[in-house]
Symmetry: C2
Subunit: 359 residues, 2 copies
């Protein structure tokens, strides 16, 4: 068995140690005589798992008791709908920043059920940069400001978060655990798990508790944050397997130095690729330097007709998931926490070799 170098955008590479532990416990979790998938979500054993996942997230991000940590189904996509349904009261509006495909989806859902104002859009520039602070005129009476902190497709991220008086809401799906964050500056943070947290089928939501009170009575029970806060994410059966995997990932992040260590490592991995891209006319970065993501590195070949060949040869050499998103083309390497420095070094070596042969 040869494991590949996995640069997929999500679902994505997972830590080998986590997969090995899940494999070892598959038939018998902690002497229970059951797989974690066979445990009742009301059992003591599963309560310990979900408590462990929650406390791991709280420790790693420094989440205070003013916030609830939820494990919900439906990924970030359901959050696009739940956020305005819960936090934008009838007759009020919310502010959004359109930095790419994911921010756009959130905006689309918000407009379906009420008023949403787009403060800034990068669409005209093909989503290659994040706005400067002075470009955002936040509405003083907005119910919240929504941003996507890292755009997986465009390969851009907010280096600094906007200062707001209204609650700041961030989709951190593709960068959570890649840098320390001052949670207290946010009203709500959410993340689909399938990039830096675990497998797909789960979203982690960190919500300031006072915001839970805003929800109108006409919102379906399942879609109310209060339902899940009041039940400790056990209103209905959660994705128990994914909660277990998130717990294992939290333990792996902690045992490897925590979020600060991964910030450093992410910077090193990203620099390897960006330096290479910037250092030769053979490659080209479409992204504004100050907006570059350290999780999703996107680039082009100057000879764009070679891109297909690059992806093909890379795949044959064991580098998976390098094709850029179908909406933008080009190349993309997603280098989430579980992607090792060795994998990135191997990719860089492959790129140099490809350049030499085709430059």
């Amino acid at each position: 068995m040869a494991r590949v170098h996995n640069f997929s955008a999500g679902p994505a590479a997972m830590p080998l140690a986590v997969l090995e532990k899940a494999r070892a416990e598959m038939l018998d979790l902690a002497d229970s005589g059951m797989s974690v998938m066979e445990l009742s979500h009301r059992s003591r054993e599963f309560q310990a798992i979900i408590d462990g996942a929650e406390s791991g997230i709280r420790r790693l991000l420094g989440v205070s008791d003013n916030y609830a940590v939820l494990f919900l189904q439906g990924g970030a996509s359901l959050q696009f709908a739940m956020i305005p349904m819960n936090l934008r009261r009838p007759g009020k509006s919310a502010d959004y920043v359109d930095t790419g495909s994911w921010a756009s989806k959130a905006i689309k859902e918000a407009k379906l059920t009420g008023a949403a104002k787009v403060l800034w859009s990068g669409k005209g520039d093909n989503y290659t940069k994040i706005p400067k602070a002075e470009e955002l005129k936040i509405s003083p009476d907005a119910e919240y400001l929504h941003i996507c902190s890292n755009e997986t497709i465009g390969g851009i991220r907010w280096m600094q978060f906007p200062e707001t008086k209204v609650p700041l809401i961030a989709d951190m799906s593709s960068e959570i655990f890649s840098r320390p964050v001052d949670v207290n500056k946010f009203g709500l943070i959410y993340a689909g798990a399938q990039k830096n947290l675990g497998p797909s089928g789960l979203a982690v939501v960190i919500i300031r508790k006072d915001l839970v009170e805003r929800t109108a009575g006409s919102v379906p029970v399942f879609m109310r944050y209060s339902t899940h806060v009041n039940s400790g994410s056990l209103y209905n059966t959660p994705n128990t397997w994914a909660v277990y995997m998130v717990k294992l990932v939290c333990e792996w992040v902690e045992s490897n130095g925590g979020v600060a260590a991964f910030e450093k490592k992410s910077g090193e991995k990203a620099a390897l690729l960006y330096d290479l891209i910037d250092g030769s006319e053979f490659w080209r970065s479409p992204v504004e330097k100050e907006s570059r993501s350290v999780m999703n590195v996107v680039w082009r070949l100057s000879k764009e007709e070679l891109e297909e060949e690059f992806v093909k040869q890379a795949k044959e050499a064991g580098f998976i998931g390098l094709k850029g998103h179908r909406s933008v083309g080009g190349i993309r390497a997603s280098i989430y926490n579980a992607v090792t420095l060795e994998s990135v070094e191997a990719l860089a070596a492959f790129m140099k070799d490809f350049e030499q042969k085709n430059g």
Copy 2:
């Protein structure tokens, strides 16, 4: 490692062969060099998995091309909300039958967003029976009739399904794959996976394609059936692990004779317990005979004060999940497809022994 006898109501016992296969493929699915959790949901490899899960369900239940088969997140609980949001047009009403805790939850969600008529309720009888055909006066202009075909908590099931002109909708979470069903008699069938299909975090929805057109434009994109029908359940990242497990479970059901074989086996397993309960004054079934579930067998001890001791001693002897739901008390053995005849025989032997010592 000793595997226990798992009688949990869900999440529940899974087939050992399925768990072993998942374990064997954990680090390397089909020579991909990746775990199934690491595969992009847009990859050829994952498309083969979701196609395999869909075709398995189609073969096992005889689902025609008039129906779409969807893999959604949010479990049955999200379906409680999605069904009226999609299939009950503005100003119209839908019919519901209240047979227990799960039917009640569906009714509660339906009433939040529009009109719902409860045709019959078993609440006054503590949910111990299913209505007779002549007790249901279906509204001719109802958008649909909703039933829960097997109530996990009460331990009752619809032996025969009502004949309707309006679309019949059934929550089959706790009995799908336990008996052949004429899908053509239904407008929509749904099931949370965590009982007879796989792990939690997934709902399978089988929907007649013409019904998809009913949805109003104001429904959030993520909550529309059309969104998921038109994208083959890949509008957003599905619960890829659970889809994979459902595929493995389908293969296991097929290789063990299909749904008809499990109907026979379920009848045998249930008869072992019901015969024992009916055969002695020591035990007592609260459920009307014609309404008895073959998936969730509930019973009482005549000396109710012994029930706690029974559950305790059973647990010590390796029988897990026998405590009745906290809302009704008593004893419950969930004997889904993955619970072996040997486990049920062992439970019956334990019960006889307990009776002898305490009778």
